[in-house]
Structures are given as structure tokens and as C-alpha cells.
């Protein structure tokens, strides 16, 4: 039985997500906010925390934070301030992190996830706040020192904390996927766990079903993908169940997920209870966020995935499956809508975008917005398949050329001579030839053997070097042979 649906115990999970915001510059200084550069090449006296330096808030960071808060249905606090969180670690140059304690950007929001019964359930968001990221420690097992790279210090972070509303590792996974999609729509973060622009810690405890008090929780860290979060939580459920069923107590501790071993391990260093000694940051003044600013930012939020999903099913008649896939990428969804203005069969459009178009995009490692493909071009292709000028294979071929070169489909068709010998009169001539050459099969067709038609179609196709539309050929043959 899956541990998440144990009869006696209920799993209680809360997630803390740290998002790197993709502003041009860092939160408190003008260093470029990029990833992957040589160590300590993107620092300045401010983000290095050198003596005498002072922070100045990047306006865009605040803007993005409000945007995220609104998208998550939070109430944005009109008066916010920053606080110092004091602790010592080599990747924290000032010996404190500038964060937010009692007056964060936002409180009391929610994100909806599927409840497993075809409906949605709200996962409450307790708070969201801004803070600066720390540097990176590089450990090498074979030497007796560690290395510190401060490029990452001062990267703007938004921390989003849920209430312990999640009830299974799968729900945690769903929450992360949906959160990521929403944030990608807002274009405020890359949400890439591999590159570290999204980090997730999980708190998990079990309790007897029917009780409301929270059990002792373990805090899980070091998961590097959404899948790892799910797997780590699954492992924890099993581990904690075992302990509780043996009548023992779960220890409140921080555990690190070890991907190789597929297990969590308690942190080796004995963790002292941190006394962060929060106090208001004296180097930053408070911020008042006006109603009209909030309204402006609210207006700038695009249609979010959930709404788009509903609308696509309703307005375009897409099934749940197709709608879910097409909205995974905001630009593809937009492309779809542009196509739908030019062509009625929305399912076909969807299939093309999800299928052959996406294949080409993957090959080019690009998104649909930056590719050569225009909605009108795709519709041209689809129409040409409909009228028999192209078949599915040749159409895909043309698509590839269009996306490789940026040429118009008509141009490609002309260059490749794909339309030649596929017009009706040419086909009729070729079909006559085939009929003459295959009299026995023709008799079979007239006797009602459908599969014989297929043979004749095949022969005709060969004569057109595979360019013609087999459906069309079939229609012509039927007309010729069966209708007198």
C-alpha cells in the first residue's frame, strides 16, 4: 500500500521554496544577476559585504515580488521593511542576511492543485518575503579546506512558505509543478532547480488520522529536482511510519537527501538552535506600496495557467489532456490561439504544435517565440494537407525546412517540387495508367474488396514519388471505379 494512503496515519507536508528573481542586477547592488561565470567575477564591495558598504534596494525586485504575491492571491502588505537575520557561515559575508521578518511583502495566499478527484484544492500560502542569497561553498572531499564563491551573494530571492496543507509527496510534486508554471507565465524567474534558480526545502510529519495537532517534523534539504522532492518525501513517509509504528518518537531534525543512496540522513554537525536575533535593518528605510502601484502590477499579470486551461477547453473545445499540454508553455498557448483565428479544427492545430512543431523546437533548442515559425505558415501547411497538395510526411518535411531556414512554406514547396504531379488532372492521368496496368486488381475493387483500393493507391503513390496525398488518390479511384 502506498504510504501516502495509510489507513491510520496522515502525511502532513509544508514546502519552503526559494526563487531567484531574474532581474538584470542584484538586489542591493548593480552587479549583473547571471549564473555560471568564473568564481568571484560578479562581485563588488557591497555584495562582498566589505566594511563600510551599504545596500540600496533594486526597484524591479520589489515589482516582481508584488507580482508574484498577487498571482498567488496574497494580500500585499502596504508597509514593508527589511530585517537582519544574524548567523555565521563562510558564504554569508556580512555575518547576517538581509531578509524580512515581521513585515514581509505578502501573507495569506493560495495555489490550487488537483485533488485527485477531478477537482482542485487550495494550498494556503502563509507568507512570501524577499531576501538576499548567500554565496556558494565548494567542497572537495580530498582536501582540508573549502572554497567560497561570492558571485551568488546578493541575488534577489523570494521565499514562499506554505501552510502544512499538502497531504502526499505527489501533492508536493504537483504544487511545485504548478507553482513553476505560474511563475514562468509571470516571467519573473527561470524556476530551474538544476541551475539553482528554484530551491525547495520540505517539512514533513505524520499524525494519526482524525487528529489536528502536528506531529514532530523533519526538515528535508538538498533535493535537486522536483522528482527528488517527491522521492525524498516518499522515503521520509516510510521512515517515519516505521518509527511511529514501533512506538518510538520521531526526532525533530534537519535531514539531507542523498540522491545516490536514495535516502535521507540527519545532518552530521550537531545543529544548535539558531538564535537569529532579528532586528530592523538600519541601513534600509521602510517601503510603502501604494494602492495604485498594486493595481498597476495586477493589470500587468497575464492570464494565468488555470484560467487559460479552463478557457481553452471552453472556447476551443480542447479536451483536458490537450489543454493541459498546450498551456505548459505560454508562448505555445499564444501561438495556438493565433492559429485558431485562421483555422477551425483546433484539435488538429494542437496536435501539430504538440507534435511535429515541438519536435523541431527541441532539435533547435529554442522556444516557439524565437523560432522561424509563424502561425500563418503552419496554417498554410495544414491547409495544403487538407487539399491534398501535401501529405503528412511531406508536410513535416516542409515544416522542418521552414523552421530551419525561415522560408515561407510555398517557397519550400516550390523549391522541392512537392506540388508537382499532385494536382487533380495529373493524378487522374496517373490513376488511369495504374488502372490499365492492374486490371485484375481493378476487378477485385469492383467486386467490393476495399483492400484492393489500397494497392492501387500505393501504385499511384509510387508514380508520384510519394508526393501525392493518398486520401485524395483513394477518393478519385473510388469515384472512377465505383461510381461508374
Amino acid at each position: 500500500m502506498h504510504p501516502a494512503s495509510h489507513p491510520e496515519y496522515e502525511t502532513v507536508i509544508g514546502l519552503e521554496v526559494h526563487l531567484q528573481l531574474k532581474t538584470q542586477s542584484k538586489i542591493f547592488c548593480g552587479c549583473a544577476n547571471v549564473f555560471g561565470e568564473p568564481p568571484n567575477s560578479l562581485t563588488c564591495p557591497v555584495c562582498l559585504g566589505l566594511p563600510g558598504t551599504l545596500p540600496v534596494l533594486n526597484k524591479k525586485v520589489l515589482h516582481y515580488a508584488v507580482k508574484i504575491a498577487l498571482a498567488l492571491r496574497c494580500s500585499v502588505n502596504p508597509y514593508i521593511k527589511f530585517d537582519r537575520k544574524n548567523y555565521y557561515y563562510p558564504d554569508l559575508p556580512k555575518g547576517y542576511q538581509i531578509s524580512q521578518h515581521d513585515l514581509p511583502i505578502a501573507n495569506h495566499g493560495y495555489l490550487e492543485i488537483p485533488d485527485g478527484n477531478g477537482n482542485f484544492r487550495k494550498i494556503q500560502i502563509r507568507r512570501a518575503h524577499l531576501e538576499e542569497d548567500a554565496g556558494k561553498l565548494i567542497h572537495d572531499a580530498h582536501v582540508n579546506h573549502s572554497l567560497v564563491d561570492y558571485n551568488r551573494t546578493g541575488t534577489p530571492l523570494m521565499e514562499i512558505v506554505t501552510e502544512p496543507d499538502l497531504r502526499s509527496p505527489q501533492e508536493a510534486y504537483d504544487y511545485l509543478q504548478i507553482l513553476k508554471l505560474n511563475l514562468q507565465y509571470l516571467n519573473v524567474s527561470d524556476c530551474d532547480m538544476e541551475k539553482g534558480s528554484l530551491r525547495c526545502d520540505a517539512n514533513i510529519s505524520l499524525r494519526k488520522k482524525g487528529t489536528t495537532a502536528l506531529g514532530t517534523k523533519a526538515e528535508l534539504k538538498n533535493m535537486n529536482s522536483f522528482k527528488a522532492v517527491k522521492t525524498a518525501l516518499e522515503y521520509e513517509v516510510t521512515r517515519q511510519l516505521k518509527i511511529l509504528q514501533a512506538g518510538e518518537r520521531v526526532i525533530q531534525e534537519t535531514r539531507l537527501w542523498n540522491e545516490e543512496k536514495g535516502a535521507t540522513f540527519a545532518m552530521r554537525s550537531k545543529e544548535e538552535a539558531h538564535d537569529y536575533r532579528y532586528f530592523p535593518e538600519p541601513d534600509l528605510v521602510p517601503f510603502m506600496i501604494e494602492e495604485k502601484t498594486i493595481a498597476e502590477i495586477q493589470r500587468s499579470i497575464p492570464e494565468l495557467p488555470a484560467a487559460k486551461f479552463e478557457r481553452f477547453m471552453k472556447d476551443y473545445g480542447l479536451c483536458e489532456y490537450d489543454a493541459r499540454i498546450i498551456i505548459q508553455d505560454q508562448d505555445s498557448a499564444h501561438f495556438f490561439e493565433q492559429c485558431a483565428k485562421l483555422y477551425a479544427d483546433t484539435k488538429k492545430i494542437c496536435n501539430w504544435i504538440i507534435g511535429p512543431v515541438q519536435q523541431e523546437l527541441n532539435a533547435h533548442k529554442t522556444g516557439i517565440k524565437t523560432s522561424f515559425l509563424q502561425p500563418a505558415a503552419l496554417i498554410t501547411l495544414m491547409t495544403k494537407v487538407d487539399d491534398g497538395t501535401l501529405n503528412n510526411l511531406t508536410a513535416k518535411d516542409v515544416l522542418k525546412c521552414v523552421m530551419d531556414s525561415g522560408k515561407h512554406p510555398d517557397e519550400v514547396i516550390h523549391e522541392k517540387g512537392l506540388a508537382q504531379g499532385t494536382d487533380d488532372s495529373t493524378l487522374e492521368t496517373l490513376i488511369e495508367e495504374v488502372i490499365q496496368e492492374n486490371t485484375k486488381v481493378v476487378t477485385q475493387v469492383k467486386e467490393g474488396k476495399d483492400s484492393a483500393i489500397g494497392f492501387l493507391v500505393g501504385q499511384t503513390m509510387r508514380k508520384t514519388q510519394g508526393k501525392a496525398n493518398p486520401k485524395k488518390i483513394g477518393e478519385i479511384i473510388k469515384r472512377r471505379l465505383l461510381n461508374g
Binding site: 566594511p51 563600510g52 551599504l54 555565521y88 555575518g95 536575533r277 532586528f279 538600519p282
Partner: protein
Amino acid sequence: MKLNELTAHEILTLIKAKKTSADEIYDAVLGRIDQCDKDVRAYVRLRGAQMDSDGANGNASQPLPIAIKDNICIRDVETTCCSRILTGFKPPYDATIIAKLKNAGVPIAGQTNMDEFAFGSSTENSCHGPTRNPWNLACVPGGSSGGSAAAVAAHEAIWAIGSDTGGSIRQPASFCGVVGLKPTYGRVSRYGLIAFASSLDQIGPITKDVTDAAILLNIIAGYDPKDSTSVDLPVPDYTRALINDVKGLTIGIPKEYFVEGIDPEVNAAMMSSIEVLKKCGALFKEVSLPHTEYAVATYYLVATAEASSNLARYDGVQYGLRLQPSQVRKTALMDMYEETRDIGFGREAKRRIMLGTYALSSGYYDDYYLRGLKVRTLIKNDFDQVFTQCDAILTPTAPTTAFKIGEKTNDPLAMYLSDIYTISVNLSGVPAVSVPCGFSREGLPIGLQIITKPFDEETLFRLAYTYEQNTDWHKRKAELKTYAKVK
């Protein structure tokens, strides 16, 4: 008079009249430093002949060698706050005020001695040992900007820069018989000032007379986009406020500052000063700053809390001192932190860090730090109230004249109480200046403090200038001798 004994404005007049050159001035200053700094010990680091190149493009339009307190970052020059823990630290950038001085063509003579991290009122907490008061080498120059004040008083610099968190410009100015001004909080950029208490620190001028203070404030004041707490208000030309006329100005005398126990000579100097200003047309009234007695306690909670956090970065990781004990105690990393900070910080620094940490710690935050912030509001309100009735407030700068070196080092609390007249000013953020107003029988300077409302440095200058024009305390010269102290 020798060139180094002149004020900045006197030298500028000579320069304009082509009666002297930059080289002559530098020679005079360097010569004086050579002659007497071994006795005064105002400087910890000298630029020497290099000071000429500090000015932008060798611009010698204002060749007025300035002494800079050792807690203000100068690019690629060792800056240590006179603490062992910052040994060897060379900031890769200039503080904003340093950039302004360089742009104005003012050369830096050297960096001056101070109490470590500005923790002190006597400059005895420096890792280099104390500076001596030019008026009596057996006495302290005050602190924490004691080196800067002594350098000016001994004419080892034309003028100087200090910093003031609880009185660290004004009190040494008072002890050394020079002018020391703490601007309104936010008037001068803190970018590059190595922080003690972020909500209290301000950089300000220490000069031979009031005119020089106005000239220097003109150079260093102004909004800085790198400092979120600096104020975007235009900087007036403070020299236009140097008017010898105070008719009609109302000055408040806070009754809480003149209680039993005040040094009788200080009190006498105050009374004489009041008479001088009365004769010039100023009106006086008694006012009340009822929360005065709580200021020192408030300061030692709020300022130390901020300091404990500001000094957390001195951990041996990136720069400065790094030590490891000879035997492992906890882990190599933890040991490095603890040993570096044990050896790197002096006693007073440790005391304040511990006190500040305690005030912020879990379970104590409300009773200590938060309470301190609330009493601060009451103290600030006292000043706001008084400024609805008066243009300025007059008080002594310090309760005594300079005390003997070593006299108060065993009693931290007694040392803290020497800031009693200056501390409230920082807590409220208002501007204040100390000008010399007399001498004790033993020949030690006494200072007069004038306080005005936020961003009203003009009234401050007007009053200070008028007082100075009607007295000649600022013209006396320190002898650089040692006297046995009677009291």
C-alpha cells in the same frame, strides 16, 4: 605664524594672492608631523609626500592637508579602525566623502588614531595605544576621534574628518579646544564609513575654527545614491551662514544638563558663554529635555546591538586577521572564528559586542533592544518639543575637561557617562557643534555645544560663528607639554 598653523580659509586667501604654494604648505605640515607626532601620536598612517597625488589630477587648488579618521575607507590604503582584526585590510574603493575630497583637490595627510571601531571616549582603546592631548600630554584627547582632534589642535593637519555616533567628534573637539561638528543624520553619506551603529553614525568636520567647518561641510555634504539613509536635499552654501549676528534667536538651556555634580569650571564657562551671546542679542529660556537621564542607557542598548551585528563580518574569512588556535577546540572553522575574534578585538569591543548580542538575543529582545528603541522615541520627541519653542539648545559638550590617561579605563560605566551631553543628539539625529569656550585653571579646554533642529546647520553656524567672533579661545595655541594633573 607658520603655514601649518593657519586655518584653511587663511591659506586659501594666501594661495589666491599667490603668496604661497602647495609645496610650502605640505612641507610645513610634514615638518610639524615630523617634529611632534612622536609625542602627540595623532597619526597611525601617513601619506607623506604621496599626499600630493591624492588630489584629482594633482589639482592643487585646495592644498590643505586633511587628517582622516582610520575608519573611513581609502582605496588601496590600509584602513583598520585601529583594530588588530582589520590588519592589512585595503579597501578596493573610496568612501564617498573621500572621493569628494579627492575631487575637490584636498590632499590626505594621513589616517588618525581612534578608539577601536569608535568604541570609546578617550582614544585609549586603540590597538596602537592612546593619542595625547596637545594641551597636556598626560591627558586623553577624548574619543573616539581623538587622533583627528589632536592633529588639528597640534597643527599637524590643517583640518580633519571624524565620525560621531555618541559624541565622538564633539567630545574630543571639546577636550582639544577645536571645533567639531556632527551634521544631521543623513546629511553626509555613510558609504565607506566602517559602521559602528548604523542609525547613529555620521561623518563630520574637525577644524580650527567655525569658518573652516563650513567650508569642509560644503565639500562633504550631500545626497549619495549609494547610501539609502542619506537625504536628497540640496546643500546650501554654509559659508553664507557665517554671520556675526544672533539678534532675536531664542536659545534653550535644558535644566537637566545643569544639575548638581557638574564640574564648576565647566559650569562657569557655560555661564560666561551665555552672557556673550546675550550681549549679541540672543534670547535665552529654560527648557526641559525630561528623558535626558535615560539617554546613556538607551544608547548602550541600541548602539551596541547594531554594533554587534555590524562587527559580525570580522571573522577571518575574507580579509584582515585570521588565526587558528594551536589545538583544535571545536571544529577548524569554528575555532578560526572564535580565535580570530578573541585576539583581533580589544576588551571594549568585546564588551560591546557581547552586550549588543545579549540585547538582541531570544528572550531579551523586548526588554532590552525594543525598549531602547521606544525610549529613543521619547528622547527624540523631547527635542522636537523644544524646537517648537527655540531655535537652538546650548549645553556643555562634556561634563569635565580632559581626564588623565588611564584614569577611567577600569570603569567602563564611568567612561560611558562622559558622553552624557552628546548622546541624546545622535539618538535624535539632530545636528550639533562643539566650539571652544574657555579653559580650566589647569589650562585644559572647555567646549560649548550648540544643537539645532534637523537640517538647520545654518543656524548652528550662525550661532557658533557669532560666538567665535566675540571671543578668542580659538586663537590660543597648545604647548604640547606634559603637566601633572591636580584634579
